[in-house]
């Protein structure tokens, strides 16, 4: 009798456990993620985008999103103005905002937060840019704060939106001064639609919905749990079984999601997969075929982007616009560049061969192509393989070297010795404001400086520097638009930095657990969306 009894007890425990696990209560929105980043509850202690998953539910940002179109919108500040001299921004805060401990959110908190994120101990990724930009911060009154900038920076306000950077996060001054940094990280308090409950390292972060309506949207679920599930197959299984409502996925999982009865939510314009040529302005590579613009254009014409969209990205990607430009970008002429992209980025292998022949390489030439993928975008390696395959078809002998990002990244800094005269895969992250990327890639002082460096800046490089200066400092909207379009022209016509596809963020959704929802264009992470995700009965899937 003992054995059956033990079996019975074990089985009942198991079944009970399963019932509890599978019937994960319907009041909790569970999102399974591939990464939780550093999983540190403090904006100054994390550097990369994963904190847009888990910081955004808890904290508001000084400048918010345009939830419909993507890009910048009202946040903690409902509006902002630029001073006549262009050197200070005044932010007007919403009335009646409170932190979860009851303290009112005031201009003092905003000043404290910005100064804290610029402090030496901050490793936040945009902190250095903010340090360079901010002269001083002044509290005008409880609901008005003024930031004096170092010179005229037309896009300064946008940089305080999570659509661009994470440095606009507002934290509670009084609370941090009372409990200290350690106390704050253990029990963080914010003003967002979700209150912090628990942070279990390597496993999950739990939140609870606020009791009162919130300007970002009042949560439809009582609780929000973000699970760290590194393996994609496991995340998909959890969504299929209902253990999670939503899971982050890559494009390679799209077919499985469709066949498994799950829904796919795609976030448009989260990134651009590109390839770029390094150091072609340097004398040591002056004889390289790649220095000929016809050759570079031929390489672009050889790529069948639609094939990549259809087969590598399972049709869930878009035709790209020029380098670092998205359909929600500001200060650019989107219709003009959409037309350009349709023609210039076409697949035309015959024209590609003709251009190669004109350049003196009718049978092709050898080239080195570094293939790599940034964290969270493993599909970039497959895109790189496809691109190399297309180049081979027009006779180019591609020596493809696939390296992990951690190995590749240092190669692009400093002397760029291994990269000069070669092509590499790269990506640009989706931001409404493209100037940070122009600075990085195209200007002579930028870390990549593809057109030239301060010691060796040819005409194209000088023109890019000039256009960039106007992009980031011109106050006249029309002139700034013209400068921005010029910047795009320089990138597009040089074929030095070439878009391949416009990528998306992908989410697998269990329609029995979660209703239909719309993400914010360009923002892959759902930290600013969770409060607007409905229950399945509130907005069923078609």
């Amino acid at each position: 009798m003992r054995i059956p009894l033990a079996l019975l007890v074990t089985l009942s425990l198991l079944v009970g456990g399963v019932a509890l696990a599978i019937a994960a209560d319907r009041d909790t929105l569970i999102i399974a993620l591939d990464t939780l980043g550093a999983q540190v509850m403090d904006p100054i202690a994390d550097t990369r985008a994963p904190h847009a998953h888990y910081h955004a539910p808890l904290w508001d940002s000084l400048v918010g999103f345009d939830f419909e179109k993507g890009g910048v919108g009202p946040g903690v500040a409902e509006r902002w103005t630029l001073a006549p001299d262009g050197k200070s921004w005044t932010f007007y805060l919403r009335k009646g905002q409170r932190f979860h401990n009851g303290d009112p959110l005031t201009a003092h908190d905003v000043k404290f937060s910005l100064e804290r994120i610029m402090s030496p101990e901050s490793i936040s990724s945009g902190a250095a840019a903010l340090r360079r930009a901010v002269d001083r911060i002044e509290v005008v009154d409880d609901l008005t704060v003024r930031v004096h900038t170092e010179g005229v920076i037309p896009h300064f306000a946008a940089s305080l939106s999570r659509a661009v950077f994470m440095e606009g996060t507002v934290v509670p001054k009084k609370y941090i001064e009372t409990v200290g940094v350690k106390g704050f990280r253990e029990k963080p308090v914010g003003s967002g639609p979700w209150k912090f409950v628990r942070n279990v390292a390597g496993d999950r972060i739990e939140f609870e919905a606020v009791d009162s309506p919130h300007w970002r949207g009042t949560p439809q679920f009582k609780r929000l749990t973000l699970l760290l599930v590194p393996e994609q197959s496991t995340r998909l299984a959890m969504v299929r079984t209902g253990e999670a409502g939503i899971a982050s996925i890559g494009p390679e999982a799209i077919k499985e999601v469709r066949s498994g009865g799950m829904k796919i939510v795609t976030v448009p314009g989260t990134m651009q997969a590109i390839y770029q040529f390094w150091g072609l302005y340097r004398p040591e590579v002056k004889n390289s075929p790649l220095t000929d613009v016809r050759v570079r254009e031929a390489l672009s014409l050889a790529i069948d982007r639609q094939q990549i969209i259809d087969h590598v990205m399972a049709k869930e990607a878009r035709w790209p616009l020029p380098f670092t430009m998205y359909r929600y970008s500001i200060d650019v002429d989107v219709p003009r560049w959409e037309t350009w992209a349709k023609t210039a980025l076409r697949y035309d292998p015959a024209r590609a061969r003709k251009l190669l022949a004109e350049a003196g390489y009718p049978t092709g030439f050898p080239m080195t192509f570094w293939n790599t993928a940034l964290p969270g975008t493993p599909f970039m390696v497959q895109i790189g393989e496809a691109v190399a395959g297309f180049w081979e078809k027009i006779g180019v002998k591609v020596d493809m070297k696939t390296v992990e990002w951690g190995v590749f990244d240092p190669m692009g800094r400093g002397e760029q010795k291994g990269l000069v005269g070669t092509a590499t895969m790269f990506r640009t992250v989706g931001r409404p404001e493209p100037s940070p990327r122009y600075s990085t890639t195209l200007t002579s002082k930028g870390p990549q400086h593809l057109f030239g460096d301060p010691a060796n800046c040819p005409a194209l490089c000088q023109e890019a520097d000039k256009a960039y200066d106007a992009v980031v400092s011109e106050r006249d909207d029309a002139k700034r638009l013209a400068a921005s379009n010029r910047m795009i022209e320089l990138g597009a016509n040089s074929w030095v930095v070439v878009p391949i596809i416009e990528g998306m963020g992908y989410w697998a959704v269990n329609p029995q657990r979660v209703g239909q929802f719309k993400p914010i264009p360009g923002r892959h992470e759902l930290g600013d969306v969770a409060e607007r995700i409905p229950r399945p009965d509130q907005r069923p899937w078609p």
Partner: protein
Amino acid sequence: MQRYIVRRVLQGVVVLFVLALVVFALARVTGNPADLLLAEDATAEDRAHLLKALGLDRPVHEQLVLFIRGALHGDLGQSIRYRKPAVEVFFDRLPNTLTLVPLALAAAIVVSIPLGLLAAVYRGTFIDRVCGTIAVLGIATPSFWLGIVLIYVFSIQLGWLPSARMGGPSHYVLPVITLAAFLVAGMMRLVRSSVLEVLESEFVKLARIKGLSQTVVIWKHCLRNALIPVVTLFGVFFALLVTGAIVTETVFAWPGVGRLTYEAVIFRDYPLLQAVILLKAIIVLGVNLAVDVLYAYLDPRVRYA
């Protein structure tokens, strides 16, 4: 006996010191954590600031001295990724692995001993071949694949068990099976060969001559003796599971030290990687020492050797 223990402890300290140097050097060969922490459009100034904030701007020899000095005081540094003491991060995760390992060991024993016994008793027969096939499958099946298959069958298709994560008893079933499968093959082969050896011994022959039944001979005389080498290897198996559960913990989203090791490597979190490897080494050395001491206690020849 005390001299023996002291000698083994001193040997362990030397091993740890050498290991610390090797880990310190190898961790830095693979790249710099700043490159993974920085956004791709970070400037040289951003990088310099981050390196300073992380304490990685100092020369390597200086970092080594600081590491050794800290380690001697029990401080293995601050995790670059988690912004917490690396030792604290390790011990936060260790209990999660320790709840899984004994269950996996128990499951491996429950399966492998009867199978090994059957294979030995029915040597050369169909049963032996079936057991042999199971052993080969166990060795050849990657844990990663087995885990995913188990999830597909028991979670998705049958809906009996949860797919992943720590939780109630049902959450342990699939990871325990995956982890145990890794051991069953080796353990079974060990039991089989031990039993075969004992079956050929004089005292077993005598037991049979005395007219004892096959069941008594096998269970009472043979198995007990055959299990000695298996029990001896328990320490090795235990250490193997604690340090080698990376794949199982990743597939089942189990927040244990196996996955922590993987994360430390991927993110080039030097202090965490150093701490994890050193602390695991201490565990392995501790378990080995305990087994050796036990062995020396049981067999005086060992301590006089």
